[in-house]
Symmetry: C2
């Protein structure tokens, strides 16, 4: 069911999140999976990997995340940009976004929400701290399992600048640094 | 003293932070300014602009930020990448990083820490919530004043992938979207 996906060591999760790509978040609630687009997230700890994110309570996903305390963060490469926008401009209240936008849900190992086969990385996450949910809709997640798709080589991620403008990854600069 | 810098409406601050660039954070404590490199930050609210960030208590800047509750987030373009690495690999305990790395400190309006003239954007920030500082070194900041340097046109930011590897902004994709 997850053919081709390979586990990624949890110690490397920060290298996916720290550069600030747009991500997709899947949830599952009352038997239905949903997916939203998200850009407000950051690393909080290397190991175990903790990720903070803001999920507005205007989003259908908010109730699912708060109630089930599980999600998957799936990272799309640039070829999915049009779908990322459609996902962000629609609500799971009315439609099945997986069917509507041609996304393939794969079963996760540790959480109920699905992985997204088309994404080059998937992080199975559990909510570990809700102290700032009421104030800011800010959740602290722990990534408990990470997957990458080795068939997607050197995926270029996208970064949102507002109103459908995305900057795509360009060249890489490599300098000597002792810092992770 | 801030000749050439222009105010940026606070409602546009998220467009600078949301794409996930590496930033510099300045602090001022007991008469000394300091600067650190930071990649763990995210938007929390559009208006007033709230920004969450993690400043490790292993960093010299942590004590200054906690004690003074003020900082400046300065955003460097790619031409500053080598300095960004040097700033990240040294500590303000031992050196004056502004002098050591040739950074020009400019006075801010609303906070004591300085702006950095070489950066294309500077955000004057005050700490607005410390509830998760003890648990995760996670601060909630409010940007109270924002500046951009119009002489730096279309600056390309850098995104850290770990150990001195940075992805530089590449091409932009513009799609129709109703979402900010």
């Amino acid at each position: 069911m997850r053919e081709g996906l390979q586990p990624l060591p949890l110690s490397k999760v920060y290298q996916l999140i720290e550069p600030g790509p747009v991500v997709l978040m899947t949830t599952a609630h009352k038997g239905r999976a949903n997916v939203m687009t998200m850009s407000w997230h950051m690393m909080v700890e290397f190991t175990p990997p903790l990720i903070a994110c803001v999920v507005s309570n205007a989003n259908h996903s908010f109730a699912a995340l708060r109630a089930t305390r599980e999600c998957v963060i799936a990272i799309p490469a640039r070829n999915l940009t049009a779908k990322v926008v459609k996902i962000g401009n629609s609500s799971g209240r009315g439609i099945d976004k997986f069917a509507a936008f041609g996304l393939t849900a794969l079963p996760a190992v540790s959480v109920a929400p699905p992985l997204i086969a088309e994404c080059f990385a998937n992080l199975e996450c559990k909510v570990s701290d809700t102290r700032l949910v009421n104030a800011y809709c800010l959740f602290i997640l722990e990534a408990v399992k990470a997957w990458i798709d080795p068939k997607q080589r050197n995926p270029k991620t996208i970064h949102h600048r507002g109103y459908g403008a995305f900057v795509v990854d360009g060249p890489t600069i490599r300098l000597k640094s002792s810092k992770p």
